[in-house]
């Protein structure tokens, strides 16, 4: 009954490959996010979707393409992987209406990507 689940948890791949990370939330939240955490633990927003619509797209290379087939899913596809893409990628979701628990980010367990 995991609230926000990401797969895979670990991913090791060669430079130049294409890979995807999947994310699903069963909380009924209307907004989902992708964050990147680098080796210094800095967390940076990459994308945000609200009801399947892209609402935040930070300065991220266009090799990164998010896809939201429905409100409960937000997948991240990365083309032509580079060494600098090595990081932990976190999916998160939130409920943006008012009330108890609103606007609190619930995170997945993270996906550690290592590019060799």
């Amino acid at each position: 009954d995991t609230a926000v689940s990401q797969t895979p948890k670990y991913l090791v791949t060669q430079m130049g490959n294409d890979k995807s990370i999947k994310c699903e939330q069963n909380l009924g939240h209307d907004t989902m996010y992708w964050y990147k955490q680098d080796s210094k633990k800095f967390l940076k927003i990459m994308f945000s979707y609200n009801n399947k619509e892209l609402i935040i797209n930070e300065t991220v290379p266009n090799r990164f393409s998010p896809k939201s087939p429905d409100k409960a899913h937000l997948n991240l596809h990365i083309n032509s992987l580079e060494l600098g893409d090595s990081a932990v990628y976190f999916c998160a979701s939130s409920r943006t209406q008012s009330g108890q628990g609103a606007n609190v980010l619930t995170f997945g367990a993270g996906s550690r990507l290592t590019v060799l």
Partner: protein
């Protein structure tokens, strides 16, 4: 642009003692949310406490409390009766809602070690 600063990269505290983690932020907004998240070695990001800027009363959650000073743009976290399980990275975060966009900005984190 909003920024969040955590000036203590590392801290340590003896078990059962009290420790305070600092966080300052910069914004011209009047309504916003502030959070503390904990990231233990397991990598999972866990919400510790949340504060709405319009509320003057400081938020508390069991052993965790905040000192929210809106005019000074300060949001420190106090952990009382520290436990070994409190050992983790602690991230301060700021969130502002504008035009359907919910953007969370994280500080660089404070690594807390609780000593037996």
């Amino acid at each position: 642009a909003q920024t969040v600063t955590q000036s203590q990269p590392e801290m340590s505290v003896q078990e059962a003692e009290t420790v305070t983690l600092s966080c300052t932020y910069d914004t011209s907004e009047n309504n916003y949310y502030l959070f503390w998240y904990k990231q233990p070695p397991s990598r999972q990001m866990i919400l510790v406490i949340r504060q709405e800027a319009y509320k003057q009363q400081n938020a508390t959650e069991n052993r965790f409390s905040v000192n929210f000073q809106k005019a000074a743009k300060s949001f420190s976290l106090k952990i009382s009766d520290s436990q070994l399980g409190d050992t983790a990275m602690y991230f301060c975060a700021f969130m502002k809602h504008r035009s359907g966009t919910y953007k969370y900005i994280f500080g660089t984190g404070t690594r807390l070690k609780v000593l037996a």
